[in-house]
Each structure stands twice: as structure tokens, then as C-alpha cells.
């Protein structure tokens, strides 16, 4: 694995891509507030997001073969300077995050009109771009403390974004407050863990940390640090018993925000967990000494079943999807607990495929809400007839959520089951397929509501505007595309898995 060292000699713009990835959206946020003109703000946000999407593609192309880009901010060499480090694992996540945000923005433009008063739109876009910056920053940085900084940027802006749902439903305020409390506890745990690591090793650069932890082995400080970091991230990921903030946040946030958060925020948190458990701490240390897999596995299975059961009994489409997200997070954790290449591949590919699937579905709900004013089943019933395109996209997303062959969800489920069989964990394979039957039930309830119930009397909703339909359909079709053409996703996921499993060796 060759590390491409960027030196200060004759650097082109191309070499600066890693920092531009974060810088472009970061700069756009204050720009939006300063300009303040409502027409321009959207264009600025969209352009910045599109540019960072292109950058993410370029970065992924460079690292998909398993190489690593190390970028030194300001030319200060690590471990003293801050380093950005791109490999297959995070380039893939960068692609997901920036891609989703680029699709969400056109959607948001129409969607927030009915949810947020016009005078707050600039604020919305600024907060949105900050959130994007934070998520991209968390993903790309190779510096542990920098992770915390960006995490806070994204979290704070997320609280604002969720609270903006209060113009439609006041409960968004308490939802945002809940998340604020839980998110802050999570971040605090995380930073305490970092502090302990710094105490024990005297460095904050991830590669350097990995090196020094490997040298000194497992002492009590490092173990405590590890525990704090896992629990802190667990809150952000919404691992089953730590999930309480998620359903309310997803339900009451503005539709566009829900789409963005559901598809990216928890995924980035999972990435951070992966990065810390595998690259910073040695896999060997983590799993053999601390038997992490036996801690993660039960929670993963608990999430798969408990959250799916709860999802079945929901009567609100958005809330149902939120609980389904918690269940799906269980599958991703399960992949981690296997500690094999295929298992990690499954997790990474799951992360991506589930991102696009949930984005499709939440966009669909958002449109239904826009027209009908609510997402309760008795509000949206029969809308398959009045809004055929939106409902059809929801069907595709729903099938992908179940994991029907020919959709992205199938590929992730296949890889995950394959990984468990490879490992010889038969009972777990059976649990996976059984729990996906629960998904059939909760998804099919929605289909029946949309198609088999009569529309509410006196309603004749128009189909959604194109600016919302097109992004949703791009995502819906990509659910099918990535279900059949798995070149990019599986190759990238496998490269990512190999990099992560190589532990700290993968960092050099």
C-alpha cells in the first residue's frame, strides 16, 4: 500500500482535493448568510455541494485500488500538524454524504417552502452546509481531535436543523432538545476518551496513536479510553438501547433534513466507530483482549428484532422508517462483530446501500407529507392512486429495504449472510433472514395503505413538483442500479475492509 505523500513542491489544485472537500462547503455557509439573498443562497449551497460531490468522486477514483492519500494541512507534517487521510473506506463514505446532500438540496428547495418561513431559508441553507461540512470533515480527517471538532460542527447544526421543524409541529423543539442532550453526552464521552488517549500516548494523530498503542499494549487507560469512545459513538450511531433520540428527531425534523440525516449522519458515526476500533486500536487488541464482538453482537441482534417489532406497530410512516433505521443499524454492527473481511465488506456496502434506500423512502414520505399534511397511515391512505410516481418510488425503496433481489438492499443482505456462513455462525445467519421477514411485514403495511385502501374522501392530491420527484427517482433508480451492478460498491467496500482489517498497518 503506497502512501502518496504530497509535498509542497509544485502542488496543483488536484493535490489539494482533500482539503477542498471540506473547505468548499465550509466557505459556502458564511457566504450564504452574508449574501442573504434568497434566490442566490440556494444556488450557492447547491453548487458547493455539487463541487464537493465531484471532489469525492475524484478522490474515490484515486484510492479505490487500495492506495492512501495523506494531505498535510498548511504543510505542517503530522503528527504535529493536522493530517487529512483518504483511503477507500472514507472516500466511499465521502461519496455517499456529498452525493446525498447534492440530491437533497433540490428537493429541499420545494419542501422547506411549506415547512419553514421564507425569512429563515438562508439560515436553513447555512446550517445545512455546516452540517455537511461537519460530516465530511469527520470522515476525511486523520486527526482524532479533529474528528471531535467536526463532529460538534455537524451536531450543533443538526440541532438547529431539527428544531426548524417546529414551524410545522412544535414537538420538533423537544426532539431537538432530546438530541442535544444525548448528542452532547455522546460527544463528551468521546472527548473524554480522546483525552485519555492523549494522556497515555501524547499524540492525537490517528496513525501515530495506532503506532504507540501497539507499542505499549493494553493498559487500563487505553482500555477506558476505548470504552468511552465506543459508548460515545454508540449514542451517535443510535445502537439499540442508545437510540432514544432518533425516532423523534427523524419524525419531527423538516422532511429534507430527515432525508439527509437518515442517509448520512448515523453512517458517518458508524464509519468513525470502524476507524477507531480497527485503525487506531488494533483489531487484535480490541477483539481478543476486549472481546468486543461479544459486546456488539447481542446489541446488534437486539436492534434487528426489537426495533423491527416496534416498526411493525407504528402508525406513522416516518416513525416506522425511523425504527427501521435503528434495526438496520443492527445489521451493520453485526458485520463489524464478525471481524472478517467479508463481514466488514458487508458493513461498508450496507452503509451505502441503506443510505440510498432510506433516502428514497424519506423523500417519498416528505412528498406525501407535503401534499397531505401528515404521515400517519390514515392520512396517506390510497395515495398510490393519486400520486402514482411518488408511491412507485416508495415501493422501490421499500423493496430495497426488505432486500428483494434486484435491489441494493439485496446485495447488502446477501453479503452479510455470506459473511456469517463463512464464519460458521449459522444461528446468526438464520436470525438475519428471520428478522428481514419482519421488514416484509412493516413495509407491506405501507404498501397496503397506499394502494389497497380507498383515498380519503374529498382529497385529490396533485403529484409532487419535478424538483422533488427527480432527486427521489434518481435515488430510487440507483437502488436498482446498485442492486445489479455491484462493481463500484463491492470493490470499494472490499478495499475499505482490507484497509481497515490491516489495522494500523493499513494506515501507512
Amino acid at each position: 500500500m503506497a502512501v502518496v505523500e504530497t509535498t509542497r513542491v509544485a502542488m496543483t489544485l488536484y493535490d489539494h482535493l482533500p482539503v477542498l472537500q471540506v473547505l468548499v462547503p465550509l466557505v459556502s455557509a458564511p457566504l450564504i448568510v452574508l449574501i442573504g439573498s434568497r434566490r442566490l443562497t440556494w444556488s450557492i449551497a447547491f453548487t458547493a455541494s455539487a463541487v464537493s460531490f465531484v471532489i469525492a468522486i475524484l478522490l474515490l477514483m484515486q484510492v479505490i485500488d487500495g492506495s492512501i492519500i495523506s494531505y498535510q494541512i498548511g504543510g505542517w507534517a503530522p503528527p504535529l500538524g493536522i493530517e487529512y487521510r483518504v483511503d477507500a473506506a472514507n472516500a466511499f463514505v465521502l461519496l455517499l454524504v456529498s452525493g446525498i446532500s447534492t440530491l437533497v438540496l433540490p428537493y429541499a428547495r420545494e419542501s422547506i417552502k411549506s415547512e419553514i418561513p421564507a425569512r429563515h431559508h438562508t439560515l436553513f441553507y447555512a446550517a445545512f452546509m455546516l452540517c455537511l461540512t461537519g460530516l465530511l470533515g469527520v470522515t476525511i480527517t486523520g486527526d482524532a481531535f479533529n474528528v471531535f471538532v467536526f463532529l460538534e460542527i455537524s451536531s450543533l447544526s443538526t440541532y438547529v436543523l431539527i428544531a426548524m421543524g417546529s414551524y410545522r409541529d412544535k414537538r420538533a423543539l423537544t426532539a431537538a432538545y432530546d438530541y442535544l442532550i444525548m448528542g452532547t453526552i455522546g460527544a463528551t464521552f468521546f472527548v473524554i476518551g480522546l483525552g485519555m488517549l492523549y494522556m497515555a500516548t501524547g499524540t492525537l494523530n490517528m496513525a501515530d496513536l495506532a503506532d504507540r498503542i501497539a507499542d505499549q499494549g493494553a493498559n487500563r487507560t487505553v482500555r477506558a479510553a476505548f470504552a468511552f469512545i465506543v459508548v460515545g459513538m454508540g449514542l451517535k450511531i443510535a445502537i439499540y438501547p442508545l437510540h432514544l433520540w432518533l425516532p423523534r428527531a427523524y419524525t419531527f425534523a423538516p422532511s429534507a433534513v430527515t432525508v439527509f440525516l437518515a442517509a448520512t449522519a448515523t453512517k458517518v458515526a458508524i464509519y468513525v466507530l470502524l476507524r477507531f476500533t480497527f485503525s487506531v486500536f488494533q483489531p487484535k487488541f480490541m477483539f481478543e483482549v476486549n472481546t468486543l464482538e461479544f459486546i456488539i453482537l447481542p446489541f446488534a441482534i437486539l436492534a434487528m428484532f426489537a426495533a423491527s417489532f416496534i416498526a411493525i406497530f407504528q402508525t406513522d410512516f416516518k416513525r416506522m422508517l425511523a425504527y427501521s433505521s435503528i434495526a438496520q443499524i443492527g445489521y451493520m454492527l453485526l458485520g463489524i462483530s464478525l471481524l472478517t473481511e467479508t463481514g466488514l465488506t458487508a458493513t461498508v456496502v450496507y452503509l451505502f446501500n441503506h443510505g440510498i434506500t432510506k433516502a428514497t423512502l424519506f423523500m417519498g414520505v416528505g412528498i406525501l407529507v407535503l401534499r397531505s399534511g401528515g404521515s400517519f397511515y390514515n392520512r396517506i391512505q390510497g395515495m398510490g392512486k393519486t400520486m402514482p410516481w411518488t408511491s412507485a418510488a416508495i415501493v422501490i425503496g421499500g423493496l430495497s429495504l426488505i432486500g428483494v433481489p434486484g435491489t441494493a438492499g439485496f446485495i447488502s443482505k446477501w453479503t452479510l449472510v455470506e459473511a456469517t456462513i463463512e464464519k460458521g455462525w449459522w444461528p446468526v445467519s438464520i436470525l438475519i433472514v428471520l428478522s428481514s421477514l419482519l421488514a416484509v411485514i412493516y413495509v407491506w403495511r405501507v404498501f397496503e395503505v397506499l394502494y389497497l385502501k380507498a383515498p380519503l374522501a374529498g382529497t385529490n392530491y396533485k403529484e409532487a413538483p419535478l424538483t422533488m420527484l427527480i432527486p427521489m427517482w434518481i435515488l430510487a433508480l440507483s437502488c436498482i442500479y446498485f442492486g445489479l451492478a455491484t462493481d463500484v460498491t463491492l470493490t470499494a467496500a472490499r478495499a475499505a475492509a482490507q484497509g481497515l482489517l490491516a489495522g494500523s498497518a493499513g494506515m501507512f
Binding site: 446485495i411 446477501w414 449472510v417
Partner: protein
């Protein structure tokens, strides 16, 4: 025409017809005309493949690779070709019947109905020509999903409940069991290609073989092996054309077809015989044959009785595979065609009675044979073919199955097949007897009053088909023989 082009067209034409149905949803004649043209064109494509390939096999047409070693690919082999001929040929007849039935019965939502129907045929073609289990599985699920709207068609609480059972069992078994079996097979062999002689030999041994076979056998819910048969009677709430084509031909045959494919090309008949892994399946199939026949006798609703008869007959095919001899497999393959022709006749006749009189229960059908002679004649011939009497097609497949059972010395199985024939007599012929010999109830018309032409003609045609099949059975056996010949 190139064989590969023709294969793709057999799937694309019905899919195109589905789209056309939705586009021209308000122009009934144009819409139904296009579908008819598509049905004929699909059948011609299948015949093109037949004339190009004969009963040989082709190199897989690989469209793309989905997962390493798993291609989205199609190829021709005799069993699949036979299935395609049967399904596409009967589609034409059923479509005509469907037009007559849906209009004669004033059903609603024709466009959605015919669109789903065409999509289902497209999926059937995909199943027939899939060159590996992975591709087959994709189309297997598409078939389940595209037939769901057909079962739920009426939108009544009963239809919705039936459709839920239908979907729940079919999707549930395929995800929970079949998918697991596929991934297991793939993880030990690295491939899922249909290969003569099977792919599993040398990779798996001992009781695991029987477990894997169980995952497949129960995972292929469409084969309606007990205890996963409940979906078939539940699906009978669908309009009769659906029951006729999909639940006598396409869906259930897709199930047993998959079962045969798994037995012949994944496990390999010899491997099954060596390991004895399929012996339990043989007993279960025998149990299903007898039990379903007995339940059929207790059903007064005509379609329900036919549904249980189908369950019983499907188990014949599973039995043929489980016998693990070449004669059994041949008999099973042949029974796909024979039973399709016979059972579709029965279903269409039942629909004809419903359209003309709106009667669904056998106990109400006194004397109807006198006023609906053609419908009843067709029903009679179809029934005889199901029972397995010469000179009707059904006799040959049953004959081959018996020979297969004798080959392996399974005398009890021969007994099962015999008893089953008697049970068939007991639950099918009284319907005819009641139709002709019981008096008509007071106040009913005494003149001939058949259903509309498009409703009574199709079953008459397929009834003739069962007779023709009797005389071409030798050719059919010859046609299928490569599937069990030595490598």
C-alpha cells in the same frame, strides 16, 4: 433470428406489454389487442428458440456480473424450453379467456390486471431461461411481487387477507430458506450455475446434504409442498384467469420447475441417489399427494377443490425429483406440461360456470352440464387427464413416475400414485355426475346457455390439447431426455 436475441425478447415483449397496458389504460380494445399481439409474439420467440436449438443447450448469454461468480445470465436447456413453451402458449389462450372473463364479469381495473399479468409472464420467461440459480431467484421474486396485485385484485377484505397469506408464505419462505440455501451453496462452491450432474458433489457430505435440500425444498414455496401450501388456496380469491394461468401453470410450475432444476442441476440426480438425501423429501411428497387429495374431497368450493388438487399434483413432480432416478426426473418434467394443460382446462371451465351462473360451490351445480355442454365436456376431459387415464396426456407422466418408482424399488410410492389416482376420481368425477345426472333446480333455464364465446372456447381448446399431448408424449420424452443423459 439469433437465439440470444430471442431469449431477451421473450422477456422484453411481455414487459413492454405491461407498460403499454398502463399507458393505454383507458382504451380497452387497443390495450387488449397489444397484449394479444405480445402474447403471440412471445410464443413465436419461444418457437424460434426451439427451431434454433432443438432440445440442445446453449452457451450462457451473460449480461453482467452481479457478484463475483454470479452472473445475470440466460441459456436454453430442454426443461426450461418446455416450461417456456407451455407458459407462453397458454398465455395466448388465457389472455383471450381473460378478456372474455373480465368483461363478461364486469371486473374493475383491467389495465392494472393485464399489466401485472404480462409482467408475471415476463418473470416466468426469466425463470425458464435463467442459466443459474441466482438469476432464477431474481425472477422468482419478481413473479411473486407481480402476481400479488392479481391476487389482491378485488380489493375486498377477503382478497386482501388472501393476498397477505400469498405474499407472506411465498416471500417468507424464499427469503428465510431459499436465500439461505443459495448463499450456503455459493459459499461452498463459489458458483450457482446450472451444471449437468450438479455442482455440489465433493463440497458437502453427510446429513448437511439433506439439510440443504430441505432449505431448497421448503424455500421454493411455489412448489406448495406441505406445510407451506396454504398460499395456493388463499390465492384462489383472485379472478379465475389468474387462477388458471398463474396458479395452474406459471406460478406453481415455476415452483416445481425450480425444484427440478435444483435436483437435476444443483445437486445432481446421481448425487442425490448416492447420498440418499432426498429420501425424506420423497416421503413428504407422498404425504402431500395423499393429504391434499383428501382435503380436496372435503371442499365444496370448486376453485378450492381444484387448488388442493393442484397441491397434490405438484407433489408428483417433487416426488419425481426426490426419487433420484432419471425416469422419475423425466416423469416430473413431463408432468409440468401434462398437468398444466389439464388443470388450466379445469380452471377455465370453473370460471366459465361462474361467468354464466355465478355459482362457486359444487353443491349448487346440479344439472348445469345439460345447459353448458361444452364447458362440462372440457371439464370432463381435463379431469380424466388429471386422473391419468388414456388417451389423455396425464397418463404418460404418471406412467413414467411409476416406472421411476419401480426402478428404485419404492413399491410404496407406486401404491401412493395408484391411490392418488383413485382419490382424483373420487373428487373430480362427482362434479361431472352432478352436472349431468342431477336435475336442474326449479326455475332455471332449460335451453343451452353457455358463457360468452371467449370464455368457453379456450377450455375447449386446451381440452383438445390434453388429447393431442397423449399422442406426442413420445416426442416429448425424447425432447426432455438430455436433462438426465450422462454428461
Amino acid at each position: 433470428m439469433e437465439t440470444n436475441t430471442a431469449i431477451l425478447l421473450t422477456m422484453l415483449i411481455p414487459a413492454g406489454a405491461a407498460v403499454a397496458n398502463l399507458v393505454f389504460r383507458n382504451r380497452a380494445d387497443l390495450r387488449d389487442g397489444i397484449t394479444l399481439a405480445a402474447a403471440v409474439a412471445t410464443f413465436l420467440m419461444v418457437l424460434t428458440i426451439l427451431s434454433n436449438v432443438g432440445n440442445g443447450t446453449t452457451e450462457p448469454l451473460v449480461l453482467f456480473e452481479v457478484l463475483p461468480g454470479l452472473d445475470f445470465a440466460f441459456s436454453v436447456e430442454p426443461l426450461g424450453l418446455l416450461f417456456a413453451i407451455v407458459a407462453s402458449g397458454l398465455w395466448i389462450i388465457t389472455h383471450l379467456y381473460g378478456i372474455g372473463y373480465m368483461r363478461g364479469n364486469n371486473e374493475k381495473n383491467h389495465a392494472r390486471f393485464f399489466a401485472s399479468f404480462s409482467l408475471a409472464i415476463s418473470a416466468v420467461m426469466g425463470i425458464a431461461f435463467a442459466s443459474n440459480m441466482f438469476t432464477l431467484f431474481i425472477f422468482y421474486e419478481i413473479l411473486t411481487l407481480s402476481t400479488y396485485p392479481l391476487v389482491a385484485h378485488k380489493g375486498t377484505p377477503e382478497a386482501i387477507r388472501g393476498a397477505r397469506t400469498y405474499l407472506g408464505i411465498l416471500l417468507g419462505t424464499s427469503i428465510a430458506l431459499q436465500l439461505l440455501a443459495l448463499i450456503w451453496t455459493y459459499s461452498i462452491t463459489g458458483t450457482l450455475d446450472f451444471t449437468k450432474g450438479g455442482i455440489l458433489e465433493g463440497y458437502i457430505a453427510g446429513p448437511a446434504v439433506a439439510v440443504l435440500l430441505a432449505l431448497y425444498a421448503f424455500g421454493i414455496g411455489k412448489a406448495a409442498l406441505m406445510p407451506f401450501h396454504r398460499w395456493l388456496p388463499a390465492a384462489m380469491v383472485a379472478p379465475t384467469p389468474v387462477s388458471a394461468l398463474l396458479h395452474a401453470v406459471a406460478v406453481v410450475k415455476a415452483g416445481v420447475f425450480t425444484m427440478l432444476k435444483v435436483g437435476i442441476y444443483i445437486f445432481g440426480i446421481d448425487f442425490l441417489a448416492e447420498t440418499g438425501a432426498s429420501e425424506w423429501l420423497m416421503w413428504l411428497a407422498a404425504y402431500t399427494i395423499i393429504a391434499a387429495s383428501i382435503i380436496a374431497m372435503t371442499k365444496d368450493n370448486l376453485k378450492a377443490r381444484l387448488a388442493y388438487s393442484t397441491i397434490s399434483q405438484l407433489a408428483y413432480i417433487t416426488l419425481g425429483m426426490a426419487l433420484a432416478t432419471s425416469m422419475g426426473a423425466l416423469g416430473g418434467g413431463m408432468h409440468i406440461a401434462m398437468h398444466a394443460m389439464g388443470k388450466i382446462t379445469l380452471f377455465m371451465a370453473a370460471g366459465s360456470i361462474y361467468v354464466a351462473t355465478h355459482k362457486t360451490n359444487i353443491s349448487q351445480m346440479n344439472g348445469l352440464g345439460r345447459i353448458m355442454p361444452i364447458t362440462y365436456a372440457a371439464f370432463f376431459i381435463g379431469a380424466l387427464s388429471i386422473i391419468g387415464l388414456p388417451p389423455l396426456g396425464g397418463s404418460w407422466s404418471k406412467w413414467l413416475l411409476i416406472v421411476g418408482a419401480a426402478d428404485t424399488g419404492q413399491w410404496i410410492m407406486i401404491g401412493v400414485l395408484m391411490v392418488s389416482s383413485l382419490l382424483n376420481v373420487a373428487y373430480l368425477l362427482p362434479i361431472i355426475g352432478r352436472g349431468f345426472f342431477s336435475p336442474l333446480p326449479e326455475g332455471s333455464p332449460t335451453k343451452i346457455s353457455e358463457s360468452p364465446l371467449l370464455v368457453w372456447l379456450p377450455p375447449a381448446i386446451t381440452a383438445l390439447g390434453t388429447i393431442i399431448l397423449f399422442f406426442y408424449a413420445g416426442a416429448l420424452q425424447e425432447f426432455l431426455s438430455p436433462i438426465v443423459s450422462a454428461n
